[in-house]
Amino acid sequence: EKPLKIGYSMPAATAGYMARAIYWAKKGMADWQAKDKTIEFLYVNAENVTKQANDIEDLITKGIDALIVWPYDASVTSVIEIAYKAGIYVVVMDRGTSKVVYDVYLSNDDEGYTRKGSEWLAKQLNYKGDIVLIEGIPCPINTTRTETIKATIAQYPGMKILDSQPGEWRKDKALAIMENYLQKYTKIDAVYTADDDMMLGALQAYKESGREDIKYFLGGACDKNVIKMIMDGSEPLVQANVTYPPDQCATVVGVAVLGARGKVYEGFYQKKLPTRIILAAELVTKENAAAYYFPDEP
């Protein structure tokens, strides 16, 4: 087969989740390379959106056939567009673009991610109780998540969101915020954090405080340590999680290879791969936790 040059651009690992995403991206590339020696991967990593635009330009200069981008945010659309218009096979993932400048868009479901989780939480609490939130860094995904849970909880008159503060996707920040919440609110029923790193920080603060009012801690995105807790039942405060699988970063590699070669999945009767693939957010509980446990992830 004809050699294929695939460029892969991701944001840098500034949070635990991104580290796992990069792990899967690399795994995806390594697996394909082992299968098919004619594929060359060029992987780049950006600390900010401007650097990502530069990265994509550099990849185009190196004459790639396909481009996989996890955009920092939708503002890189215009640069992705250059690649797309130049006839490069473009796969965009996760945080979307503002125009259709891709052949395939593959993503997790941010809204579903929060809705599934918050509905589970509401149900566990019998639709009654007070919740505190810990958000990530202010950015579009964070806004989606925060607004979704606010909307979900608003459906239930017995429930109230007491507060929502930014924990920057960081364990230590979330811990400090939780310490402050515990001073401020004498009764909290559950804690929702926008991802697992922050949930672990908040949990630690709660345990250190010696209080006994909180019933549930819910994060998301299946940190391996959290999944282990759920599997083992070692932490009664943590009983569920929602998937936001970072292995999408490996999946897109296959999508790009097939797409760039004009192929489709086996048994897929359409001429082309689907333009939009949205991965469902699944609720993880003790029953199904084992399926989501990847001990090799960072």
């Binding site: 780049v44 900010n48 401007t50 330009e57 550099d58 190196k62 945010d73 215009s78 640069v79 806004t143």
Partner: protein, 323 residues
């Protein structure tokens, strides 16, 4: 005696051109390491990629020469970008001429840049607060205000033409590169051939002596921050035009560190009193080449920081002065 003169001349030239030598060394190494590096398109890419930080670094050179520092440039960039695009979108509804709207938005952005710089300058000179603190504070404030304007999301322009000029090339030079070079030429002249430039160095070197020499120290400092704000706004207009959008949470992130680094690599001392405009340009280009090479060579993302750190230290080591 003649010997002494020759020695003097030699030393002088080495110091003056050290940064260019560092650039040449880096260029040659890069050319040897990657076949893509010397392609015209790649070199033009590098130039355009660095031009946004480059333009800011030019203003920063003035601020650092005056003995100050401006940490707010990155956030200010997002803020001005947001103001510019919001104005554009608003004006698109008011005027029926798109170009008029674009001009209005650019004007608004430039004015905003000047005002924001003036605010920094005012607090530093009139308020007598350390530049580090003032601009650290305004860094937080500008970012926060831009996040607030769009709930941390991006603001897209509704104009189809706004995105054009930022991507155009004139003859073969991309517009932002051209703008950077023009501003550099102007600022270089100001720094070396005008009264303001002289006074700037004097203020940066020893404000007390400058005061004794009947120089209006506060005015000189104030203007350097205004200028810096202006360059940020120029850069913001070009960058938002490139994206035809601004990301309030991301745009300009970390630019302050890049700009300061470029200025210092370029030979302007951190303590002020002297400034090297062309040195700054070389400084940003060095940073650009490093980033480009990291991509071209496909170095592990985890180890890129190590390579980058080593090259920056190495580039400055090459041009360190004899004791």
């Amino acid at each position: 005696m003649i010997k002494a003169v020759i020695a003097r001349v030699k030393k002088f030239q080495y110091e003056k051109y050290a940064v260019f030598i560092a650039l040449a060394v880096l260029f040659i190494i890069s050319a040897l390491l990657s076949p893509y590096f010397t392609r015209i398109q790649n070199l033009l890419n590098i130039l355009r990629q660095v031009s946004y930080v480059g333009i800011i670094a030019l203003g920063m050179t003035f601020v650092i020469t005056s003995g100050g520092i401006d940490l707010s440039v990155g956030s200010l960039m997002a803020f001005i970008g947001a103001v510019g695009i919001l104005t554009l979108n608003y004006l698109m509804g008011v005027f029926n001429n798109e170009y008029l709207a674009i001009s209005g938005a650019i004007l608004a952005a430039l004015i905003m840049g000047i005002l924001s710089g003036a605010l920094n300058g005012f607090l530093i000179t009139r308020g007598r607060i350390a530049p580090f603190i003032v601009t650290l504070g305004s860094m937080a404030i500008f970012r926060s205000l831009s996040l607030y304007m769009a709930s941390a999301g991006e603001i897209r322009s509704v104009s189809g033409h706004y995105g054009e000029f930022g991507m155009n090339s004139i003859w073969f030079l991309p517009v932002p590169v051209l703008v950077m070079l023009i501003i550099a030429a102007i600022l270089n002249t100001i720094l070396n051939s005008t009264r303001y430039g002289r006074h700037l160095c004097a203020v940066g070197s020893n404000p007390l002596v400058a005061l004794f020499s009947a120089i209006n120290v506060n005015r000189i400092k104030f203007l350097s921050y205004v200028l810096c704000g202006f360059t940020v706004s120029v850069s913001a207009v070009l960058l938002t035009s490139r994206f035809n959008a601004v990301s309030t949470s991301n745009t300009g992130m970390g630019f302050e560190l890049d700009a300061i680094t470029a200025v210092i690599i370029g030979g302007t001392p951190f303590t002020g009193g002297r400034g090297a405009i062309w040195g700054t340009i070389v400084g940003v280009i060095i940073l650009g080449i490093i980033n480009n090479m990291l991509n071209m060579l496909g170095i592990s993302p985890y180890l890129q920081g190590t390579v980058k750190g080593l090259v920056i230290i190495g580039a400055v080591y090459l041009q360190r002065q004899k004791s």
